[in-house]
Symmetry: C2
Subunit: 420 residues, 2 copies
């Protein structure tokens, strides 16, 4: 099945909002093996919308629209579609009752233009909206399907996932399964160089790389008549990649480095702490964004000033004097210090120059030391993350934090598990 996603809204054309709806729908369709050939965005303009809808329906079996179902005068997607399918607009009584009930619940008067939201193309399958007033709909004609969803992500997402995906999944009769191998510390080009011939040779499963901030994700996707059969196609390729990249693989379907760290800590019943300078709390922020991290992360110190490094973390004054705050020695003492202070099993630290100011010839912007301290495994790594252009503070902080998390993962792997 070929699909197109057509998002309607002048606010998207003006760049007032980012189009998260397209991503949610694309992901959902990919998961059931529907090929999205095209995504597009048009404004709330009848003529252009009509052209875009007609073109999309010509090229694809299924067109999914978002937006334009609202109560205001410029929301006209439904009317345009009804015209294209040669249907009249008729009042849908159940939808009207739901809208009336909604307004009664929130205690606001219902206006005439809200009533317009209950007018639907004749013969459409109605998709009730549990999170707002505009119902969605599915129109079918000559083997083509048009699915119309509301624009607000909070209304669109549940309607799409609960009412649309199951209908389309039943039609494809095909299951697409993906597994993702997460690789850290190997550049995208290097990964591709090593896998190019495999990527070109593989048909089912396919193998595709995706790189971001020092990480490379390799997605292995198979199409089969069942999840189990797809899994049998995927697993040998995943094993092969894991063997090939060894230590650099931090997980399969791991979500993120921080999720992998929290999972590994949970498995061994270990507790991690952090002492951050240049990353300024980013490590603890990333760990604590994982639900349940409170069991394995109790304490993070952002010691941005030298005084705090000394007073709180016990970094020696001589160390700071002799080697400076951005040094291997300081990173090591920070990690050891926060581990002792917090009573954690392991600790990570960062100290470096995130820029744009503060660099020197000897210690340039992008120089970062990340440290780890545990019973069995303590080390410091020196990173040179500067790439010589201006706005890289965020990049340097992100990649420094990722390196610290990756180092933590290696230390956790080497640590003895504790009793729960």
């Amino acid at each position: 099945m070929k699909a197109e996603i057509l998002c309607v809204g002048t606010e998207l054309l003006l760049g007032d909002i980012v189009n998260t709806n397209a991503q949610v729908i694309a992901q959902g369709l990919a998961s059931i093996g529907v090929n999205v050939f095209h995504q597009s965005v048009v404004g709330d303009n009848d003529a252009r919308l009509k052209t875009a809808l007609r073109d999309a329906l010509e090229q694809c079996d299924c067109v999914i629209t978002t937006g334009g179902l609202g109560p205001t005068y410029d929301d006209l997607t439904k009317e345009t579609a009804a015209g294209l399918f040669g249907r009249k607009m008729v009042l849908d009584e159940p939808s009207l009752r739901r809208i009336e009930a909604f307004f009664a619940r929130i205690g606001r008067p219902m206006t005439d233009n809200n009533r317009k939201q209950a007018m639907m193309p004749e013969g459409a399958q109605i998709l009730p909206n549990d999170n707002g007033t505009a119902p969605g709909l599915i129109l079918e004609q000559n083997g083509k399907r048009l699915v119309m969803l509301p624009g607000p992500p909070r209304e669109m997402r549940p309607m799409f996932e609960r009412q649309v995906l199951p209908v389309l999944a039943a039609l494809t009769g095909k299951t697409l399964v993906s597994r993702t191998v997460h690789i850290f510390g190997v550049g995208e080009s290097a990964v591709e160089d090593r896998l190019r011939s495999r990527m070109l040779a593989l048909q089912n499963p396919t193998l595709a790389p995706y790189a971001k901030d020092g990480e490379v994700l390799l997605r292995v996707t198979a199409s089969a008549e069942s999840r189990a059969a797809a899994g049998r196609l995927i697993d040998p390729v995943v094993d092969e990649i894991c063997g090939q990249f060894g230590e650099a693989v931090y997980g399969v379907d791991a979500g993120s480095l921080q999720a992998a760290v929290v999972r590994a800590l949970n498995e061994k019943h270990l507790v991690l702490a952090s002492a951050e300078s240049c990353t300024g709390g980013l490590i603890s922020k990333r760990i604590t964004e994982i639900p349940g991290s409170s069991a394995v992360f109790h304490c993070g110190i952002c010691s941005y000033a030298n005084e705090i490094k000394e007073k709180l973390l016990g970094v020696r004054h001589e160390t700071l004097e002799r080697y400076g705050a951005v040094s291997e020695q300081t990173a090591a003492e920070m990690a050891a210090g926060v581990r002792a202070l917090s009573g954690a099993d392991l600790a990570v630290s960062t100290t470096g120059i995130a820029g744009p100011g503060g660099g020197s010839a000897e210690k340039p912007v992008g120089l970062v030391y990340v440290g780890v301290s545990s019973k069995n495994f303590s080390t410091v790594r020196r990173l040179t993350l500067g790439r010589g252009y201006g706005e890289e503070r965020e990049y340097i902080r992100t990649v420094a934090a990722s390196n610290a998390l990756f180092l933590a993962l290696q230390a956790i792997r080497q640590a003895d598990p504790k009793q729960p």
Copy 2:
């Protein structure tokens, strides 16, 4: 001038990433009065890309593409465009030297496929890439302009803003200037209710609201023949809004709450500290993302465990026993504790239930206390941020951190300045 944005990338069609590039470009074009009629996304597929490019060039004066300029075999946007314009691909020596210098700088070997990035359509205007290896380009033919930009947002954005927007702005001959009033703690509907008649009445400047995570931005935009003339149209409206929303305005063109906080601290030569529980380091991460924050932020403690709240921050054991970690009393003691510990002039704190677990009838998910402690102004605010649907951990953490930053700003406003 009519424009279309065409984003190339299978990862967009599969929903692996959200299309922030389209938003950035759309905003930029809107700011210089260029109408975006259409946005679309196609995969890395020669035939479909060709059709999309041809259609776009037929309908618009200017087509801006992103993506497909990378080093890998499936990046072929440039070649497709060259074919469409009847140009040969030729080696651009300056681009090659920049790419070689880049690899020398980061100390990684340059592969043959990186060399491909220096091949450009003959006669193209080259846009050097200050943030990566793939140069962009502008092709002009028969009054149509094709602008090709790299896909990674970090590379695309500065190239677009510095090298493309000025060229297009010169063509439109119109200057569009915007100023943004930042409002915190007033709901979007409430802001709209108060400004509706003004928004409808204003033509030049226009007034448009944009809401996100507890903040409302009001953008005032004027079109004139010069920046100064546009400013004269904008300033009275900005003053009017600032007067109307008073304390809730945290800045004009302030960038972000954290940028406003760092600026205010710098102005009064004050130092802030943070003690975070449910926000887990997000506040210190946000403050330290601002260059130069090290002068005004020395210490942030993420005290995720009660034990750390007691031991490090001096929260009394009885307080935790009697009122619990999520309480007004704990928030107050955390803020006072980290202020004493760090020697800062002011401190903020957060403690709450970010979910999805950990909630109860008495203390539901989304209950958060944010505290501030300073010489003149200490208080705790109780927030109920839960909206009753599942995935709101990130929302709760973000809005809690924003409330703490806003509270810090109020405390800074009331504080006496120090001598530099």
